[in-house]
Symmetry: C2
Subunit: 173 residues, 2 copies
DNA sequence: CCCAACTGATCTTGTTTCGCAAGCAGTTGG
DNA sequence: CCAACTGCTTGCGAAACAAGATCAGTTGGG
């Protein structure tokens, strides 16, 4: 966790923290899936992370200051994980990755729609989403904007594609 | 390399391609260090990649269409690796990572200066650098701009910090 | 021609990490 | 009292990683 670094290069240091196959997926689920509990993160993602890996990554991300943890008052063993400001600012990295993957890799339609919208929305949309995350995870009040939030718009678009695909499948057979 | 994917999520797919500790560092060296040969990549970076890992990653990146390889006419065994358009478009991801690392991690002064400039320059500067890379790696002609290129400016800034640090060390002892 | 230096790349041998399944102790609600 | 749930750990086989020696082919100086 805290050995000596391979080099002082910012890209290398970033990779040492989140440069594995799972950390950013956990962050992704926290941002786009609004998952805050261990079990939600464990079973929620399509990829199916192992419980020991998840526990280890949560520990690492906690130590790195990317997420924080507090007890859930509703259950003595339950913890609520939140993104810190540092974690929220990983969003642009995720957005760029989503955009690149959307452009060059065999992305599924329903999971690609968010990437498409984020790309079209650009940094301005990312900033708005980050503000929404600050409200949700850090409790920072913000000026309410007109219309649905970015998070809601992404979620709605996703649901719409899922519904359309379901109808399509139904028609086929 | 081409097994079944864990999911159709664009972020996950991107991570499956470049989500390890070395691939993006190789791309980084090709972009910012202008390293194009196996030996340059092997010995050039501060982190010290093993030869077998490098060979494997080059193979993977080649298969993924992120880099290309052609024979060096000066030596029958020598190969020149170039970034493809797909590889060049990884730059925004690297830039965001560099910016995040610069902000939150213990980046060394001389290696951080590039991240700082890239952050200040923003997407416009990235686009210009990508155009320069297209000229170098893809042979695409471009309109010559006035003054030094982005690549040259980054390199010059790096050299300046190194020189300043050297002088500082010399003064100290 | 001969050989040392160089080319990209592989083999060998450990060590670390990963990934899946099962299991753990404590908590909750019925 | 007990089944379902909480976060989390353990065991173990598989895969990835890391360091160094080694490989065959190429090149150029002597």
């Amino acid at each position: 966790m805290s050995d000596i670094h391979r080099s002082g290069c910012p890209i290398n240091l970033t990779l040492e923290v989140v440069g594995d196959k799972w950390s950013l997926l956990i962050i992704r689920d926290m941002i786009f899936g609004n998952r805050r509990h261990y079990r939600e993160l464990l079973g929620g993602s399509e990829e199916g992370i192992s419980s020991n890996i998840l526990a280890d990554r949560l520990k690492t991300l906690l130590a790195a200051g990317i997420i924080s943890r507090e007890d859930d008052p509703s259950h003595k063993q339950k913890g609520i994980y939140s993104l810190t400001e540092q974690g929220i600012e990983l969003l642009p990295i995720l957005a760029q990755m989503a955009g690149w993957g959307y452009k060059y890799l065999p992305v599924s339609e329903e999971l690609g729609i968010r990437a498409k919208l984020l790309m079209e929305g650009g940094p301005k949309m990312w900033a708005e989403l980050m503000d929404e995350l600050r409200e949700i995870h850090l409790g920072v009040k913000r000026r309410r904007k007109a219309g649905p939030s970015v998070g809601e718009r992404l979620q709605a678009a996703y649901q719409k594609v899922v519904a359309a695909k379901k109808a399509q499948t139904g028609k086929d057979r």
